[in-house]
């Protein structure tokens, strides 16, 4: 069964990447989707990642009980965990819930109200017109949001450390500046790009193949989020195993 769905997903992607009828209209849609996905999720990502950064600092400080370890290490651990794992993965899971369910229900509603059929009848590649701008917007905006998430987590860590007294701002900044390996950022961006593709394409696939009515649209949204989250975690493992 899983191969059937995977095959259907690949066939849909084949349709999505057909040559657009008119790039001008697609570009307009891409900018619209970038606003929806990027700007629309910015507040949520800022709040979540700031708190994660603050909590991470306090938890690392709680676990580092040895006087032999300098407190600046807290900043270093916080930075690397956020860049490599928390920034991309937590952001992706949050975006899967917010953006993914929205994409699935939007396309699913269009399917059950025959709007997708109307596009097909007009001679428009419905899969391309509806899904391609979302995928391109996801590939651009998710990495951008992940960079913002990492930045906010680092600032959150600084605030959390200062407010709780776990680490002084000077030590924390010294920590996040010391021993930085730029490759970790490359890993984060690869993850973010792959997650951006999953966040947009999996819900779009689920929505595009909805059959029935409002109930099925809702169920497709739930399934899209579940399948998308599992795919994100599986890809997270794969990328980590391959790149580190």
């Amino acid at each position: 069964m899983i191969f059937y769905y995977f095959g259907e997903y690949i066939l849909l992607l084949k349709k999505v990447f057909r040559r657009p009828e008119k790039w001008k209209i697609y570009l307009k849609e891409i900018f619209h989707e970038m606003t929806e996905i990027g700007v629309g999720s910015l507040g949520l990502i800022v709040i979540i990642s700031t708190f994660i950064g603050a909590v991470m600092t306090m938890q690392i400080a709680f676990q580092l009980v040895s006087d032999l370890i300098p407190t600046s290490v807290i900043g270093q651990i916080n930075r690397d965990s956020n860049i490599l794992e928390l920034g991309p993965t937590i952001s992706a899971l949050v975006l899967m819930g917010k953006v993914g369910s929205s994409i699935s229900s939007q396309i699913g509603s269009m399917r059950v109200t025959e709007q997708i059929d109307a596009l097909e009848i007009m001679g428009i590649n419905a899969a391309g017109y509806l899904i391609l701008p979302k995928i391109i917007a996801g590939l651009i905006m998710v990495p951008a949001l992940v960079i913002i998430a990492i930045g906010c987590a680092l600032v959150g860590g600084l605030l959390g450390g200062a407010l709780s007294g776990a680490v002084t701002p000077d030590d924390y900044i010294e920590g996040i500046r010391g021993g930085f390996n730029g490759f970790t950022m490359a890993v984060a961006m690869v993850k973010a790009t792959v997650f951006g593709f999953i966040i947009t394409s999996v819900p779009a696939y689920k929505g595009f193949h909805v059959r029935g009515g409002a109930l099925e649209v809702g169920q497709a949204g739930t399934r899209a989020v579940v399948v998308g989250c599992i795919s994100i975690l599986a890809c997270d493992y794969l990328i980590t195993a391959l790149m580190l």
Partner: protein, 255 residues
């Protein structure tokens, strides 16, 4: 002209269409009628390519549509206008945006020309000035008329209507029927309407194809229909007291 040859469509074990043949000619309104589940909408969807028939062929002006791939179908699809049962207007677009959408996608018309064409289409369906309303702000009848305006925006050669009168009051239904008839004559297009509305059948049925259990049981004009002794057709057409009374009056006149 649209020619349908030996169309078969099966969903699982359920045979929905069983060898349908028909010819729909330009400038006339052709109706596909039949009871619920008789395969009317499935036949329409097979003709326009939303369903792929298991067997059989569909020709648009002698060109075999069923064998074409997506790219080959595009030029024919640009000549198709379709009104859906639930209108299928794009919710996120205004009335005007719905109408100019295909013009945006397939023509190099200037903005002013597109707006002019949208206004012309809206005037044609008596909805002038409703350009900036969203589908959620329209009544059922208005949605159908916007659906027709969208369908005729590219001056179609083929017009398809799936139950254009469903959910409408009798007066609005007659208005929609008259509009379909007028547009067919004006644009000289091949119009195929799926309906089970007997007012439409009597009003605009130049050619009627009657389906029963997925098979073609009868074809002819609305006048021929009244004289037909086909049992299944009569059971369907004269099911309502109104139509029974009409038949009795006709028979009395004949006697």
């Amino acid at each position: 002209m649209i020619e349908v040859r030996n169309i078969h469509k099966v969903f699982g074990d359920n045979v929905v269409l069983d060898g349908i043949d028909a010819i729909f000619v330009p400038g006339k309104v052709s109706l596909i009628i039949g009871g619920s589940g008789s395969g009317k909408s499935t036949l329409l969807k097979c003709i326009v390519g939303l369903h792929e028939p298991n067997q059989g062929k569909v020709y648009f002006d002698k060109k075999e549509f069923t064998r074409m791939n997506f790219e080959e179908k595009v030029p024919i699809r640009k000549e198709i206008g379709m009104l859906f049962q639930n209108s299928a207007l794009f919710d996120s677009m205004t009335v005007e945006q719905n109408i100019v959408f295909t013009l945006d996608m397939f023509t190099e018309m200037s903005k002013a020309e597109k707006i002019e064409q949208a206004n012309f289409c809206l005037e044609r369906v008596n909805l002038a000035g409703k350009n900036n309303l969203y589908p959620s702000e329209l009544s059922g009848g208005m949605k159908k008329r916007v659906g027709i305006a969208r369908a005729i925006s590219m001056n179609p050669k083929y017009l398809f209507c799936d139950e254009p009168n469903s959910g409408l009051d009798p007066a609005t239904s007659i208005l929609i029927d008259e509009l379909i008839q007028d547009l067919t004559e004006e644009l000289k297009c091949t119009t195929v309407v799926v309906t089970h509305d007997m007012n439409s059948v009597m009003g605009i049925g130049n050619y009627i194809l009657f389906l029963y259990n997925g098979k073609k049981y009868w074809e002819g004009s609305n006048q021929d229909m009244l004289k037909s002794d086909n049992k299944e057709l009569n059971d369907f057409v004269f099911a309502s007291p109104l139509m029974k009374a009409a038949r009795e009056t006709l028979q009395e006149d004949k006697d």
